[in-house]
């Protein structure tokens, strides 16, 4: 699992060697620890709109060190470009060049965040051009950043303000170390729904969450992260993984439910367990998934069907059972694990990619269904994550796969878990039907 290369180039001799040879120099990313400051330095809010003023005032009220103009040579934690009133591509010039002057002052692990509007909702070609322009600008800028700094954008639906709960939730997530491996991505906030947590250290306090595939790897890490954030947990995995499941359940003080999610009554059994034992069900994380890789020419029925059945058909069945039950909490949250394989494709993974692309389709189409019950459904699409599964990839292939992103390294299970925990929180109530990549801005895919 250890990325020994990253360790090497961050030590004295290795650092010099990598520099001389022009080798990639991935940074050790800052990752979330309870009690850690939200952002490592002053935050510059660029932009002269009313929204920018309100956002700056809001961040100031959180005791952040907020600047409206950068002080030359002062090291910065983050730059937020408020671009909520773009009417023409020419409007980009002033805020973009203001940010440009401060880029060299961005600290290691710094953050760039844009706030803009979705192009699809623009009423004129000029406005649409300006809004879409932010897309290319931000994705390119993210690739210029160094030393673990990332750039991400929040897309605010027309009518939602930069200080709405989910806009602030998304900004907080991107500013924080929780988003260490999320880079070059846009997250759309479509409504004013949602609320900021009473205790930012425990944003899931009082929630009951189910995590499938929780016996090991990313699933176990999701359980740990959500436990840290205050949730009560029901951990699900197949009966054959029951010993590892019990060990994770005992670690996070949850209950273990040995269950094959492809069973016809899996949804009802999950719901029954959560409601009987924990009184309610607020969050379901569909993490369980398998790979049965083969070139399509060699694909057999068993491989194809098991992947489709476990990775997507089971989720569809469980969601249907949850929606029909009427027993979900008042603000239900579903978060599914997709994959960048489902976006960009991957040789030998036609079945896996079909299932994971299917997850994205399901999430988008299910969003209105969950919205009508006060809830949301979203997905995360991990890129190269350091797990037991990726550790089995041959070394050379693995090394290449690791470096093919803007952060030049693989992500950790905790990076996926942090993103899921955010999407499952009340602060993400205005985010629905979205697929957020956790891939370090991998070069393939959207």
């Amino acid at each position: 699992m250890a990325d020994t290369y990253t360790q090497l180039v961050n030590s004295g001799l290795g650092r010099n060697l990598a520099k001389k040879l022009g080798l990639p120099q991935p940074a050790v990313l800052r990752r979330y620890q309870p009690g850690q400051p939200l952002v490592a330095g002053p935050v510059v809010v660029v932009g002269d709109t009313a929204g920018a003023d309100k956002l700056a005032a809001e961040l100031l009220s959180w005791d952040l060190d907020v600047r409206r103009h950068a002080v030359p040579a002062e090291k910065l934690g983050a730059i937020i470009l408020v671009l909520d009133e773009l009417e023409h591509p020419a409007d980009l010039e002033k805020p973009v060049l203001a940010a440009a002057g401060s880029l060299r002052d961005l600290r290691a692990g710094g953050r760039i965040i844009t706030l803009s509007r979705p192009a699809a909702e623009a009423t004129s070609p000029e406005a649409a051009a300006a809004r879409q322009g932010v897309d290319g600008f931000l994705r390119s800028l993210a690739k210029e950043l160094r030393a673990g700094a990332t750039g991400n954008g929040v897309l605010l639906a027309d009518g939602t303000t930069p200080t709405s709960a989910s806009a602030l939730g998304a900004i907080t997530f991107f500013l924080s170390a929780r988003s260490a491996f999320v880079d070059g991505q846009f997250l759309a906030v479509s409504t004013e729904d949602g609320s900021l947590p009473a205790d930012p250290e425990r944003p899931l306090a009082g929630k009951v969450a189910v995590v499938t595939g929780a016996a090991r790897g990313i699933g176990a890490e999701i359980a740990r992260t959500m436990h840290r954030d205050g949730a009560s947990l029901v951990l699900v995995d197949i009966p054959a993984a029951g010993d590892q499941l019990a060990s994770v359940a005992n670690e996070v003080r949850g209950t273990a439910l040995q269950l094959d999610i492809t069973g016809a009554d899996a949804g009802r059994r999950i719901l029954d367990h959560a409601v009987q034992r924990h009184g309610r069900l607020d969050i379901v994380v569909h993490n369980a998934g398998v790979t049965r890789d083969k070139l399509l020419a060699n694909m057999d029925q068993a491989r194809w069907n098991s992947v489709i059945n476990i990775n997507i058909a089971a989720q569809l069945r469980i969601n249907e059972a949850l929606l029909e039950s009427g027993h979900l909490g008042p603000t239900p949250r579903i978060v599914s694990v997709a994959s960048t394989s489902g976006i960009a494709g991957n040789r030998g993974q036609t079945n896996y990619a079909a299932s994971k692309a299917g997850v994205m389709g399901m999430v988008r189409a299910s969003a209105p269904l969950f919205a009508s019950r006060g809830g949301t459904i979203n997905a995360v699409a991990p890129g190269f994550i350091e797990t037991e599964m990726t550790a089995r990839i041959p070394l050379a292939v693995r090394e290449v796969a690791r470096r093919l992103n803007s952060l030049q390294q693989g992500g950790l299970p905790s990076d996926v878990a942090e993103t899921i925990a955010f999407l499952a929180s009340d602060a993400a109530g205005g985010i629905n039907g979205e697929v957020l990549r956790v891939c370090g801005q991998n070069l393939v895919g959207a």
């Binding site: 009966p239 019990a246 060990s247 209950t255 273990a256 069973g263 034992r277």
Partner: protein, 451 residues
């Protein structure tokens, strides 16, 4: 206060407030690890490892982390001297609160059932609100006893002060002293193993080879079907790569069982009917059962599957050949049912531990025998017969294996689940009888009722 647990009426007719009224003891659920054949998957696991694993699976299933349980009672039959505080050590190694008190118990094969009975009684009396009963045994990691000669030399060496003294003591050692005494299942008072004892009983009750093989076949097929139906999904936590009982032979057949040579009672000639196929093998494993008062279970939103209604123990004089070694339940069940005013027809399920297929069949034969009923059970005639379709319906020890002290927990956890499901599907209460025979001519039996 009376000593038999009954409330004593005061002279004015009121019940003394200092005597606790009895209340219900409910079974919340069970957990066990798959049973392994001796020398198999758990060959390197100690009793403590296995009991801890069975406890941790139970804790995870019911969210008992950091919980202070009223008392945990468990034990092992084959126990190392280093395991003097086996259950306490297992609890300390588990996710339970370290403030959970425990006791160890040993009643041979009835150990597990007796821990259920003991803790249920404490719950009924209000002494504890929750309990975990259990048992574990490793036939692989069995304690090896050294010869008496070697033992004396080791103890004398320990007491010796000088080198010449030590050399002198060591010179007493003879090669034969170095051979360890293998643990056996022989009865100290008769020198006969359990299998040889049962072979005598089998011949006495004229139990046929065919009937034994049929019972063994049913055990395997019933257990295999239960696995297929997912029956064990919430009763078992895998351990050391095992996800099913290693002894299970789902594909066994009448022909395969008929082909096996007798291993017990070979001196009986044609009457030798007991084979490795219709006798339980030596097994490793552990099981646990969570018991509680209604209030304790309700406060934690835990399920309530069944209640422990009553239990009875019996013993027989096998030493003088009055009864077979494993026949004590034959006497315990009639006494228990008489006390509860029940007959065999009042039960939905019977769980009769399959130490040997012939043990179950001998028990049934004794109950069906008019003369035995009159002369030994003090009844007007035969005690009765049972509906065989209600016997060991999800398999028993022949297929699952029999880690001595773990068998009671296996049966109670599974039966409680079966009774609860039966009651849910029929809408009326369901009742189950558990019968476990034990070495030393003992037996423990109990009644469970659905909730």
């Amino acid at each position: 206060m009376s000593i038999d647990g009954q409330s004593t009426p005061a002279p004015d007719g009121s019940v003394s407030a200092t005597v606790p009224a009895t209340r219900r003891a409910v079974i919340v659920g069970g957990n066990r690890i798959p049973f392994a054949r001796a020398g198999g998957a758990y060959a390197k696991s100690s009793n403590q490892d296995m009991l801890t694993a069975a406890l941790d699976g139970l804790i995870a299933r019911f969210g008992l982390q950091d919980e202070r349980i009223g008392q945990v009672a468990a034990g092992a039959v084959l126990k190392h001297s280093k395991d003097f505080n086996l259950t306490r050590e297992a609890v300390l190694g588990s996710a339970l609160s370290a403030e959970t008190p425990v006791y160890d118990l040993q009643q041979a094969c009835a150990t597990g059932l007796e821990t259920v009975v003991g803790l249920a009684n404490k719950i009924k009396l209000g002494q504890i609100d929750s309990g975990i009963a259990g048992g574990v045994d490793s036939a692989s990691d069995a304690p090896v006893v050294v010869s008496e000669g070697l033992r004396e030399v080791i103890l004398d060496l320990h007491r010796a002060k000088t080198l010449p003294q030590r050399l002198q003591i060591l010179s007493r050692l003879r090669p034969k002293d170095l051979a360890p005494l293998a643990p056996g299942t022989a009865e100290p008072r008769t020198g006969l193993t359990m299998g040889e004892h049962q072979a005598l009983t089998t011949a006495q009750w004229k139990i046929s080879r065919e009937a034994q093989d049929e019972l063994a076949l049913n055990s395997h097929h019933n257990l295999a079907a239960a696995y297929e139906a997912g029956f064990f999904d919430d009763l078992m936590t895998p351990y050391r790569g095992l996800t099913r009982d290693a002894n299970l032979r789902a594909d066994t057949s009448k022909e395969k069982l008929a082909a096996l040579k007798p291993v017990f009672g070979r001196n009986l000639g044609a009457d030798a009917t007991m084979t490795a196929g219709n006798s339980t093998p030596l097994t490793d494993g552990a099981s646990t059962v969570l018991l509680a008062s209604d209030a304790w279970a309700d406060a934690r939103d835990l399920p309530k599957l069944a209640a422990v209604v009553d239990a009875e123990a019996a013993a027989v004089d096998f030493v003088h050949g009055k009864d077979g070694l494993l026949m004590a339940p034959v006497f315990a069940v009639p006494r228990l049912l008489a006390r509860q005013n029940l007959t065999l027809a009042d039960f939905d399920y019977f769980e009769i531990h399959e130490a040997f297929a012939a043990t179950v069949l001998s028990t049934l034969a004794a109950w069906e025998d008019e003369e035995f009923g009159r002369s030994r059970l003090g009844l007007d005639g035969a005690f009765g017969s049972i509906d065989r379709s209600r016997l060991n319906v999800n398999g028993s020890s022949l297929a699952a294996g029999h880690p001595f002290a773990a068998t009671g927990g296996r049966i109670v956890g599974a039966l409680a689940k079966m009774l609860h499901a039966k009651a849910a599907s029929t809408g009326r209460p369901a009742r189950g009888l558990v019968s476990v025979c034990a070495a030393g001519g003992q037996g423990v039996v109990a009644i469970l009722e659905s909730l």
